[in-house]
Amino acid sequence: MKLTEPQIQQLYTFTQKHYVDWYDVQTELVDHLANGIETQLEENPNLTFESALHFEFKKFGVIGFSDVIEEKIKALNKHYQLLVWHYFKDFFKLPKIILTLFFVWGYFQILIAVPNRLWVVGVSSFLLFVIPIYKIYKQSQRIKRIKKQTNKKWLFDNTSLQLGGMIQSLNIVIQIGFFNRDAIWSNAFSLSFSVAIVLFSLALYIAIYIVSPKLRKDMAKQQPDYKFA
């Protein structure tokens, strides 16, 4: 016996009531519960839909779906970070390594040429903070719009918004502006600082401009319901 459309909707509501907010996670759980319920109803036609659902849910253990959600979030963050690492490595291979070295050299030259170093460090940290925050704000607006239009939230989108957990690193940017403010920097120190700031900018650039759009494209290909707005 196949479940009806309203029963499937009931299962979506059930997962939502059990703290599964994300449509992509709900979908898999709904199908799993539905399969289990259908098998039970075939074996015992006198069973009600609600009792069969209760029995299937119990199989997830005392903490219900929490483990599945928690592990899914971890897995997606890991996937995001692996993608960033994959593209990051490209910047250390030919031909992109030339660009990386050029950025380091360029930043270093500016750092030693400008008399007041605080201007260079201040402007870089300001840009490294404001650009990602602006992009994240635009993304959150898009997610809100999708939620309003379709009543669906996607874990994929949330992972992109958090830059796979890398969003925490923006705290470092605030610190950069005040970093070693009054000390005199040697050339070796300025060069190390240039390397660090270029690598950090590259990681953020890859996350925001390469990995997040790629995830959305992959999601659109994978999930027929995903609104690629």
Binding site: E28, D31, N35, K59, A75, H79, Q222
Partner: protein, 110 residues
């Protein structure tokens, strides 16, 4: 699972091998297949299966396809090229493990 601690370390290998033998499978199907193949001896819990599937997907070993079946969406998993290679490695590791255990618990058979 009849003895979850013993099977736990092999869950990924079990999933990979099943997907190696079938073109694509969905979560519930995997649990039922394992149950049928082991005549009910091994019962993969839902709380262990999905985290394992999501982890394998994140590592790039599995690919995902979502299709409408009956009146709902179904998420299918299939092996990627890397996943197929990894299955071979994992099976070799498991065979080696079984041989070692055999040598330890029953030296006559080893």
């Amino acid at each position: 699972m009849s003895n979850s601690k013993l099977y736990k370390g092999s869950l990924n290998t079990i999933i990979l091998q099943l997907l190696n033998q079938h073109d694509k499978m969905y979560g519930y199907e995997i649990t039922q297949k394992v149950k049928a193949l082991t005549k009910g001896e091994l019962n993969i819990t839902e709380g262990a299966l999905y985290p394992a599937l999501h982890k394998l997907e994140a590592e790039g070993l599995l690919d995902v396809e979502v299709a409408k079946v009956d009146n709902r969406l179904r998420k299918y998993y299939k092996l990627t090229e890397t996943g197929t290679k990894e299955t071979v490695n994992k099976l070799e590791e498991l065979a080696e493990y079984i041989r070692t255990m055999q040598a330890l618990v029953n030296p006559k058979l080893a």
